[in-house]
Amino acid sequence: MSTVFIAFQRTDEVRAIVEAIMQDNPAAQIDEQPGMVKVNADGRLVVKRATVEEKLGRDFDLQEMHVHLITLSGNIDEDDDQFVLAWKH
């Protein structure tokens, strides 16, 4: 299976987002870089709005994630509730 990944700038808010990703994708691996945090996963990675909201303690629009986003790889399937990275083809 191919790897998908998503990389963020390391900010206070991103810590909650990454925590949420790790909870929803237990098999994912974190790669901490200076100023950047990258999450790798085999085949599929999901960011769920409800989990991020719980970690962040406030309402969250998945679009807010893009403020912190550096890069990603995988085909995106996004709606209001979740953001899924996977190789569909």
Partner: protein
């Protein structure tokens, strides 16, 4: 000349403070909320007891009947520390100001029928005294409570209520004038419909158990008052005269949803701690809810007339469902 770029990774020697790391179970990066909350209140090296209350220490766990093994078990799901609280409130205020500005600029207030305007003034303006009472009570919870995890959000809650009182004054000045504020104060002091509620507020001022005060104010009174006056009565006014008044009380309606998250979490944590806590909380909730319902009944009747009894019953059912979710059967 050749320049080599090289990445140097500098890892911090420690991720957070030792006392925070101890609670997180290891040296992990902590959020601002955690660093600004956990074990912040001083506990040791108090040599002297306060002269005004020699039976207790300055910060004392025994000022309430509620017992907790760890007072930092309380969590604010909104994760408010001073910074995040001011940001959240600034957002709320921006929306509220926008709505008030809209009502002003379109002259919506002057289009209200005399009956609706009178009702809105008589109903919402005296409430600023209730809001001020809630400010005092939450400040008292902060002063006598134990542990930053509950005292800090209580202080935020108190300041929110002061803001709410100010918005009610704005409503009064927008729909009426300074005379209406004076009339509302007079009604609060003398009109029969308000006396039971005034008694409730004044009785809570002298409660010495701060957790009982928390239940009486933040759970029982607010839990009935906001759904009834800022939702049920608000719907009634909107159906009669459009959303003008609703726009002026937007702050309260939005704020209550936000504050309830914290109140629910606090009650849930305290009730889950022990059977004694649960029984104590249930007894307090039952007693204060009955009084709150009695106090609000004449006020709701002012707005809804015959429909008031049904509205009270409905609010009570919802309130009981909310308590059940937090682990209290009342």
């Amino acid at each position: 000349m050749q320049i080599d770029l090289r990445t140097v990774s500098i890892t911090p020697l420690r991720q957070t403070f030792d006392h925070v790391a101890k609670r997180l179970g290891g040296d992990k990066p902590a959020s601002r909320y955690q660093e600004g909350t956990l074990d912040v209140q001083a506990k040791t090296n108090y040599h002297y007891r306060p002269t005004w209350d020699p039976a207790h220490k300055i910060f004392d766990e025994t000022r309430t009947a509620i017992k907790m093994k760890d007072w930092y078990a309380f969590k604010d799901p909104r994760q408010f520390y001073y910074g995040s609280w001011t940001q959240a409130r600034a957002r709320l205020q921006e929306t509220a100001e926008g709505d008030i500005e809209f009502v002003e600029s379109r002259g919506l207030a002057s289009n209200l029928s005399a009956a609706v305007r009178k009702l809105a003034l008589e109903l919402y303006v005296p409430l600023r005294h209730v809001e001020w009472g809630a400010n005092m009570n939450n400040a008292s919870i902060c002063a006598y409570g134990f542990g930053t995890a509950i005292t800090a959000p209580a202080q935020f809650q108190g300041m929110d209520r002061l803001g709410s009182a100010q918005y009610l004054s704005r409503l009064g000045l927008l729909l009426g004038g300074p005379d209406d504020l004076a009339a509302a104060k007079n009604a609060w002091l003398n009109a029969p419909a308000w006396q039971e509620l005034r008694r409730y507020v004044e009785d809570t001022f002298v409660l010495s158990d701060w957790f009982e005060l928390y239940v009486a104010q933040n759970l029982a009174l607010d839990g009935l008052m906001f759904p009834l006056l800022f939702k049920r009565v608000d719907d009634h006014l909107t159906s009669q005269a459009g959303p003008t008044v609703s726009m002026l009380t937007r702050f309260q309606a939005d704020w209550f949803v936000d504050a309830s998250k914290w109140v629910d979490a606090t009650i849930k944590t305290a009730a889950a701690e022990s059977a004694e806590n649960k029984a104590q909380l249930e007894a307090w909730t039952r007693a204060w809810t009955a009084r709150a319902a009695k106090a609000l009944q004449p006020v709701v009747a002012m707005a809804l007339g015959d429909a008031a009894a049904g509205a009270m019953e409905e609010a009570m059912t919802q309130f009981k469902a909310r308590c059940a979710k937090a682990g209290l059967s009342v």
